[in-house]
Amino acid sequence: MKPPPFDYYNPTSVGEALTHLAEHGYDAKALAGGQSLIPMLNFRLAQPAVLVDLNRIADLSFIRETDDGGLHLGAMTRHYQVENDPLVAEKAPLIAEAMPQIATTQIRSRGTFGGSIAHADPSAELVAISVALDAEFHLRSQSGIRKFKAEDFFLGMFTTQLDPEELLVEITLPPLPARTGWALQEIARRPHDFALVGVAALVTLNELGHIQESRIVLFSVGDGPVMALKARALLQGQSPSPELFRAAAETASMEDVDPTSDIHASASYRRQLVRVLTRQALERSVERAHARVK
């Protein structure tokens, strides 16, 4: 259980890091908080020839308000920083609420927001949340910046749009629309462990109190975050009610996901969790959306 040998660089600027990544291409791996990559090295599931350590790049760690009232997060901002930041609590309450559930205290001391996104674990809360919140990711390379919406960024299990010579440098979150509520519901064998199934939801009501938009993102049910599009279509324009939530949750569990069985849970149990958690997430989101109208 020891990491394989690698060549190590610890640049202090993004430019320097990009130079190393450009030089080494597929042989190099960027090291953020290391809370997923280092276990993979210890297991020798990953054996990169070169590690480019980002931990000395101060420019990548920040939390700022955007001009339109959203948030900019530097990719190397650590979980505990996000967890304890008043601006995040105000602008992105879904993230603030999720943070204490994400892994353990020790992991949150080191793990980074951008690291979790770039790693693209299908059971990661921040991956699903960033899709629900319609986040945008900024990828930098020596040839410039590419920007992706979260829903276009994740391609599959541990797979994203990131090219080997690119670095995720920033995450931008749009401001929460008016009359919007949120929820994160998840079930794990042990608190802070990987979710068996989870749901991140964002629901916006219109002036009549009908559902104007619902972004329901399921995680741990496939190769990546799954937008419950059929459930969303069913909810569109409807007046919230327990029956409606039940119907949407049923649709999400039967039509939007196709979970697989593994040693942790059977496919049918996962479907059942999707059914229950989606309903709970919708109830909670709508309740909060109402509270924010008052």
């Binding site: 020891k2 990491p3 060549d7 190590y8 590690l51 505990y80 001391s109």
Partner: protein
């Protein structure tokens, strides 16, 4: 070699398989060592500095036995490279108390039978130091969440929770 300050001292072309000079403060003592970049912080503490109080359980960030304080925050030392601690402060269980003068949390673990084999104890103690500083009157629920990153296979956790309550009480006196 002259003063080392967090930068690789080797010229670029020798960087490839080179050792790194590192200067680290552990339990208020500064150490300078040359390390291979792949050396884990946990192994560095045990093998280079002889601080074997930091235990190694799973080596993939699940068991929490190797928890130390890194710049005051609890981290898993098996999920960091020693070279990353260059210029930083680390606190291990050895910095907590001595056999004759136990730290108040250690004393509470002794008094409330918060350990059996003791393998997980150093990691739990180091997790609790910042937790009790931040939460001087923790609820049982908070305590259980706080130690949820530390696996104990002996106690069933009940006596550990009791020990944390006792430690909090004693610290508040």
């Amino acid at each position: 070699m002259s003063e080392i300050t967090g930068v690789n001292v080797y010229p670029q072309e020798k960087k490839m398989s080179g050792l790194y000079q590192l200067s680290i403060t552990v339990n208020d003592t500064e150490f300078q060592r040359e390390v291979d970049p792949r050396l884990l912080l946990s192994d560095f503490l045990r093998h280079e500095l002889g601080l074997t109080g930091t235990h190694i359980g799973c080596e993939h960030g699940v068991c929490g036995a190797c928890t130390v304080l890194f710049d005051g925050l609890p981290v898993r030392s098996c999920l960091m490279f020693a070279v990353q601690a260059d210029g930083h402060q680390v606190q291990t269980v050895e910095g907590l108390g001595t056999v004759d003068d136990l730290h108040v949390i250690q004393q509470a673990f002794h008094d409330a039978h918060g350990l059996q084999c003791g393998f997980c104890t150093p990691g739990i103690l180091m997790t609790l130091v910042p937790f009790l500083e931040k939460n001087p009157r923790p609820s049982e629920d908070q305590i259980r969440h706080a130690i949820s990153g530390n696996i104990c296979r002996c106690t069933g956790y009940q006596h550990i929770v009791d020990a944390v309550k006792l430690a909090a009480e004693n610290m508040n006196q």
